[in-house]
């Protein structure tokens, strides 16, 4: 006789530990795969899990086995045409008489594919950027909430007891509960006074009135001063904090000298700013402006994928941005952020104009302006002018970037503000 055991409720995820070990062991390959995936994603589309594929040969467990060659005999079923002694050509690929190669779903057998959860994915993304833990936590956390007052409730913790409200309740209740006896008391006292006026102070009627007065007084006194249902507590509810909107301008130089690698770094820079903004704002618009000698507003795909040649006039992008702000994003309703990535090239005459444009027109409208110069040679005129801008504006920051780890310091100010707030 068999014994039946219901194990459905006892733990699943027994393999979670083994999965973590797998991830740890192949960290290098996974990081590389994640980097590839990030390059293919939209700026706004960072926060989800992903199918990751790493080369299957890296994770094979080797054993002694036969290689091709030598003589081997294999029995196959389903003969329909051969007789003993036939000689046939070797099939094109694989061994034996395989009908076809390749897996049915068209997936490459040389790749091991698995899913990373959102959290795991973000962790790998952050790893490259060398973010401080506090910031990582801040970015991974759900949007912050603020405790808001929301009237009063009849139950709560003693710490939230609202004394004035409770006493008000108490007074009202005491009044209500004692109104009938007090009325009766008043009548009885009046009658007693009448009797006294008539000189019948010693009559039995007066005695009984006195008794009644006593008992009414006792009844009034017995109404509790403060009862449990008088208590009122302050009520607070969680209200999500990011409740406003922001617009983020992404400005990038797409002249010939911005190659794939530089663009990839720029992309991470934009992603990180976006990620930061999502923590603070409920709704975020993205505006992509690319420029060489002229600036143009484009969609994200063109922004990262087009490549043009020619010189660089940065002010064209700043002017376009200024126009767009005036037309579409009144500062009363929008928090405006801007991020600019470039390799530092600019026409020398243009740089001072950029400086003035920033200081006089743009920065007063902006919350924050971050500029990164990616893998630039020696600092050029634009950098020098921008350094001046920084010295006069606290909302401006700039950074030269050689590798991914350098991105974070651009935002240090931004994050610090957030942390201390």
């Amino acid at each position: 006789m068999s014994q039946f055991v219901d194990r459905r409720l006892s733990g699943k995820n027994r393999s979670a530990v083994n999965r973590q070990r797998f991830l740890r062991r192949f960290k290098g390959q996974i990081r590389k795969a994640v980097a590839d995936v990030v390059s293919g994603r939209n700026v706004t589309d960072l926060e989800r899990g992903e199918k990751i594929s790493i080369p299957a040969k890296d994770l094979q467990e080797p054993v002694f086995q036969y290689g091709p060659g030598g003589r081997r005999s294999i029995i196959h079923p389903g003969n329909k045409e051969f007789i003993a002694g036939d000689r046939v050509d070797r099939p094109e690929s694989g061994s034996g008489q395989r009908g076809s190669e390749g897996s049915p779903d068209g997936e490459d057998m040389d790749e091991f594919v698995f899913e990373l959860s959102k959290e795991e994915f973000m962790n790998y993304f952050f790893e490259d950027l060398a973010l401080p833990d506090l910031v990582k936590k801040q970015l991974s956390a759900v949007p912050e909430v603020k405790r808001m007052r929301a009237g009063f409730t009849s139950d709560g913790s003693p710490a939230n007891l609202h004394v004035a409200r409770s006493m008000k309740q108490s007074i009202g209740r005491r009044l209500a509960m004692s109104s009938t006896p007090r009325q009766e008391l008043q009548e009885a006292e009046e009658r007693l006074a009448e009797l006294a006026a008539k000189g019948q102070d010693d009559s039995p009627e007066a005695d009984s009135l006195r008794q009644e007065i006593e008992s009414l007084k006792a009844r009034i006194a017995s109404v509790p001063f403060l009862d449990t249902w008088d208590l009122r507590y302050s009520n607070r509810v969680d209200k999500p904090q990011p409740a406003s909107q922001a617009v983020m301008f992404c400005l990038m130089d797409v002249s010939g000298s911005m190659d794939e690698e530089r663009k990839n770094i720029a992309k991470r820079f934009f992603m990180l700013l976006y990620l930061f903004l999502t923590r603070s704002y409920e709704h975020i618009d993205l505006v992509f402006i690319r420029h060489h000698t002229v600036a143009k507003e484009v969609d994200e795909h063109d922004f990262f994928n087009s490549r043009e040649t020619g010189g660089t006039v940065v002010s064209s992008a700043l002017e376009l941005m200024h126009q767009i702000i005036r037309k579409r994003y009144p500062i009363a309703g929008w928090n405006i952020y801007a991020a600019q990535a470039s390799d530092g090239d600019n026409w020398n005459d243009d740089s001072p104009y950029c400086r003035d444009l920033l200081i006089n027109s743009l920065l007063p409208l902006l919350q924050y302006y971050a500029y990164v110069e990616i893998k630039a040679e020696n600092p050029q005129s634009l950098w020098k002018e921008y350094e001046y801008v920084r010295s006069v504006s606290p909302h401006f920051t700039l950074q030269r970037i050689l590798s991914l780890e350098d991105i974070y310091p651009v935002f240090r100010e931004l994050f610090r503000k957030k942390v201390t707030k």
């Binding site: 068999s2 055991v5 005999s73 329909k80």
Partner: protein
């Protein structure tokens, strides 16, 4: 037996496809009754109802109910999870564990039919095979395995804490690489027992170390004596059990590492019979779920709907695609095993003239006894070479393709005709000989008086060379051995040639 069954008005055990625990018990009781009628001897079964996630968990630790932590199990888990989510893999068919009581898993998502099928297949089919087959009786200890696995897991966890996960992972990786070479093919193993293992483990640690120290005595040998010793090899006879040799003789292993080698070796040994009886084991279980459920149907206890669902699932399992099909992945062990047991029953019940010539011993005998004998006393290789009949060879249209790298074409060596039956039968049996499937690798020489290097020898079979993973495996051997390791191939003329070496 058919004559004993009579067709009654149907009184099915259940009509619905939903299962309940009461129904499971009822079906189990009925299936058990019929199994006893056919004389199947089983361990008591413990049937555990689990969810699909838990099933994936169970899959990924190679079916061990308790297992230590290792990344490779994580990899298997992720593979299983992925294909299950995509619906590529039905998880319905059994996981059954060779232990006493025999543990089988049922998935809660399955219909009553599938649950009954799995109960018949696992708890009566596989279970009786575990209990009856000589290889399992010799090599595994159903009583002790669960305890041993618990011991292994806690020991490994303890060592991880003491020596670090990385060190443990390296050791386990190396051991896993040699797992298939951790069995004595010819010596009988000692029984596993938790109590003994625990009591003896510390004792063994101390003792082993003293032995090893003795072996590597550091006193310089005298010149003359050294020369003589050079002539004699150590070990005097080649050793086929690489893990055993390493456990006992590796000069640099820590004591805990020796214990890990031992644990992996013991687990390899536990799975050793399964690797050698795949066709028989699956064939036997499939044959019995088919027979038991048909018997119940004939008694009127199962509905037609039940049988349709059951047969669909059954036919999927025993389908053998022909070699030219897109789905062909070699011979399906379920199909071959099931057909062979059915064929033996046919030979017993309705032998033809040909069967009488080929199988004079069993033609016309009691099929239950004949099958029982076959189940008990064979492994895949010997089972095929004993029982594969011309009838089945014709039915499956088997033919033999020889791939010789000295010939520019493949040769069809034999087909399913009079001239070919014996050849096919022998070739198919050889195909299931473990020694043919895995390279024969032995410890040839450990240079204990010299540089302590270890030499392995690969005895070639049909001139087949080692694959490209050899160097990688050799690194693992060197990791355990601690000194240089090399491997030589020995061809059919006894000529040895160095293939690969790993110098430390």
């Amino acid at each position: 037996m058919t004559d004993k069954r009579e067709y009654k008005t149907r009184q099915p055990l259940s009509e619905d496809s939903e299962w309940t625990f009461d129904l499971l018990r009822l079906y189990d009781k009925e299936i058990g009754r019929v199994a006893a009628y056919y004389g199947l001897g089983t361990y008591p079964s413990q049937i555990e109802v689990i969810t699909s996630e838990q099933m994936i968990d169970a899959y990924s630790s190679v079916g061990m109910p308790v297992s230590y932590n290792h990344w490779s199990f994580g990899k298997q888990f992720m593979t299983a999870q992925k294909s299950y989510k995509r619906g590529q893999m039905g998880l319905a068919y059994e996981i059954v564990i060779n232990s006493n009581p025999c543990i089988a898993y049922l998935m809660e998502e399955n219909t009553m039919t599938m649950q009954a099928l799995v109960i018949a297949h696992a708890c009566y089919g596989h279970n009786s095979f575990f209990k009856g087959n000589y290889l399992f009786r010799t090599w595994t200890d159903a009583e002790g395995i669960l305890d041993y696995l618990v011991f292994a897991r806690s020991y490994i966890a303890e060592c991880e804490e003491r020596y670090g996960e990385v060190a443990m992972e390296e050791t386990l990786d190396s051991c896993h690489a040699l797992m298939n070479h951790g069995v004595d093919n010819y010596r009988r193993p000692a029984k596993l027992s938790m109590a003994k293992e625990k009591n003896r483990q510390q004792e063994r640690e101390a003792y082993l170390q003293s032995q090893v120290n003795d072996l590597w005595r550091t006193l310089p040998p005298k010149e003359a004596a050294g020369k003589i010793r050079k002539e004699t090899r150590y070990p005097p006879e080649p050793q086929e059990n690489l893990l055993y040799f390493i456990e006992k003789h590796a000069p640099c292993l820590e004591l805990w590492q020796r214990e890990i080698v031992r644990i992996v070796r013991k687990i390899a040994q536990y799975f050793y019979p399964q690797r050698q009886t795949q066709v028989m084991n699956e064939g036997w279980a499939t044959f019995w779920h088919y027979t038991l459920l048909n018997h119940l149907y004939d008694e009127g206890k199962l509905t037609d709907g039940f049988m349709m669902e059951f047969l669909q699932s059954h036919t999927n399992v025993v389908y053998q695609p022909p070699f030219y099909s897109r789905d062909y992945r070699g011979i399906n062990p379920y199909a071959l095993g099931f057909s062979m047991f059915r064929d033996i029953r046919r030979i017993c019940e309705e032998p033809t003239e040909e069967d009488r010539r080929w199988f004079p011993d069993i033609a016309g005998t009691d099929w239950v006894k004949t099958l029982d004998y076959a189940m008990r006393n064979f492994k895949d290789e010997s089972f095929i070479s004993q029982y594969l009949s011309p009838h089945l060879i014709r039915e499956m249209k088997l033919f033999d393709v020889v791939d010789d790298d000295r010939q520019d074409k493949l040769e069809i060596a034999a087909i399913h005709d009079d001239a070919g039956y014996r050849h096919i039968r022998q070739a198919l049996a050889d195909q299931y000989n473990l020694g043919n499937r895995e390279p024969n690798i032995q410890v040839w020489d450990a240079d204990i008086h010299g540089d302590r290097s270890l030499t392995l020898r690969h005895y070639m079979h049909a001139r087949r060379p080692l694959g490209e993973s050899t160097a990688e495996v050799l690194r693992h051997v060197a990791q355990l051995w601690g000194y240089d390791v090399r491997i030589e191939s020995v061809d059919e003329n006894g000529r040895a040639e160095l293939i690969s070496e790993c110098l430390i």
